[in-house]
Symmetry: C2
Subunit: 338 residues, 2 copies
């Protein structure tokens, strides 16, 4: 049983911890917390050992009556790999300490690809991370794009992708972020960084992206225009998406016409925290005109990268070298529909 | 002095009334109201005569102490043209009564093009409405697209347009509409109706559109990808937009990075109701890659069609047959910057 530590038990960290715990070939040894907040308390209730990321704050944890097992360095001694879920830009600063401790490290999409050197998506380039020491799982938006673009590329080739990403302004728990009542080009320059980020895992893909922020917390929404290399029908695309793991076709006509209704559906599925690990593609939006495929999809920004983190652990620790097998195992253990 | 009546003194109607009043070759004779609400009271204070669109509701106006000059039929007798600003789908039902009364009629974008027979945009096809009896001013989104696409077409020709329209969920005063915290593909099918609507005034333009609703009330936002016929530089495009009336280049770097800040700017300009009649194009978003022009723009849905309504009156009543002259005259009288 391989051992995993979570550095940063926040939005992504707590979800990866639960997803790892659900697997049968890896386990969580401990998680780090800087602040003894409700998440730290809940981590203890769930049975996770807590290690302090700032050793000088022990008194804060004592005051909050939250037991700690040691410092972050103590955790490094006990694990094969650390999943770094600290805020963007902090992860790369931790890399030196991982190297010094001799542990492998997974970083999140908030880190720059160039600083880590290798990026990961379960479907696009799993094999390139087998046995690697430091790997970055691409961001929620990039993961969403790869999940649906990769099978289309395999089906019929892609000449060019144009995508407009309508991004949630903040996560549900973030009370200090906006916008409240506004649309914000973010970045206001075109193309956005998302296209190049996709290219870190789908090498050489011709893709241009534009991105804006809007006043919602639930999901990102993507509008895709994909020029295809060879002729296919919409039925071919539907067949492909129906067979693709972690992609769900949803029908607006069946009450799933918005991101709010899709998240309500995820709650009804009994998912932990109401998460939707899959990318939801609106069936009605699929259309091919002049060999160009159009579709709309929704991405649950808090959770879609979680199964990818599990697959990355498996690849880097060489628990599995076949991506399909890792994806199937992760999915089965996380109750992902397909 | 030509005489104008407004049928439906709501969001668009009250703005067109003020814009007509600001002109020197036309005047408002009266406006219709169905309900004696705050807008009716304010119309009286502004000096507009009120005509009841439902004659059987006289007692409601009496109770509200709002004087009425007569019924809608009395208004028809006094005007050369009616600007129909009733809710979408109602306008076309009024056409018969306009015909019977022998008055010309302008309809808004909520009516179907096919039912009216002719659509209008000041820049794209002014001349086709000269002397016409019944004309539809295209919707706020379509007007926004035409304002910037028409000058690009004239500059260098357009091969194909792809546009993703991020639409405001409701107007600021609409308390019963959503979404509050969701992104809604609307329509969930692709392409949306906006592309064909542009083609009712920019004949033969190759355009595909996708549209979604988001939880904001201030403005629509458009993401445009325009394949160009001939080579131009970004400076050529900037020069063109700087010369184009009713188009404003705005800089995110100067504090105009969102629809909220743009509307704040309009208020600071002292505009009536804080309206922005111009289309705001983010300067930073302009980019040409492989002969494809990318840009982002914002559209004030409550007011951008208002100057177009004035121009349509002028064309239909043959007060002016030169579009540039009508546009300049309308703008000068409405204090539109250029």
């Amino acid at each position: 049983m391989k051992t995993v530590g979570i550095n940063g038990y926040g939005t992504i960290g707590k979800r990866v911890a639960d997803a790892v715990t659900a697997q049968d070939d890896m386990k969580i040894v401990g998680v780090t917390k800087r602040t003894p907040n409700f998440e730290a308390k809940r981590a203890v209730e769930l049975g996770y050992d807590i290690y302090m990321s700032s050793p000088d704050r022990e008194n804060l944890f004592e005051e909050a009556d939250i037991p700690v097992k040691g410092t972050i360095d103590d955790l490094y001694d006990k694990v094969d790999i650390v999943v770094d879920c600290t805020p963007g830009g902090i992860g790369v600063k931790n890399m030196e300490s991982y190297k010094k401790a001799g542990v492998k490290g997974i970083f999140q999409g908030g880190e720059k690809h160039g600083k880590i050197g290798k990026s990961f998506n379960s479907f696009a380039n799993f094999n390139d991370s087998v046995g690697e020491d430091y790997v970055r799982v691409v961001s929620c938006n990039t993961t969403g794009l790869c999940r649906t673009l990769n099978p289309i590329k395999e089906l019929c080739g892609i000449k060019k992708v144009r995508a407009v990403m309508v991004r949630r302004g903040a996560d549900p728990g973030q009370v200090n972020k906006g916008p409240i009542n506004s649309i914000v080009p973010n970045p206001p320059t075109v193309p956005s960084h998302h296209g190049p980020d996709v290219q870190t895992v789908m090498y050489g893909l011709n893709i241009t992206t534009m991105a804006i922020l809007v006043p919602t917390t639930l999901m990102h929404q993507h509008n895709l225009m994909v020029e295809l290399e060879s002729d296919v029908t919409i039925d071919d695309v539907i067949d492909t998406f129906e067979k693709t793991p972690r992609v769900l076709l949803v029908d607006a006509s069946r009450g799933l016409g918005s991101t709010a209704e899709i998240m309500e559906f995820a709650k009804d599925l009994g998912r932990p925290r109401g998460d939707l690990f899959e990318i939801a593609v609106w069936r009605e939006s699929l259309n091919i005109v002049n060999n160009e495929l159009y579709y709309m999809q929704a991405v649950h920004q808090e959770s879609d990268v979680v199964p990818e983190n599990v697959d990355a652990i498996r690849a880097m620790l060489e628990l599995e070298t076949n991506p399909e097998k890792s994806i199937a195992r992760t999915n089965k253990n996380m109750d992902i529909i397909k």
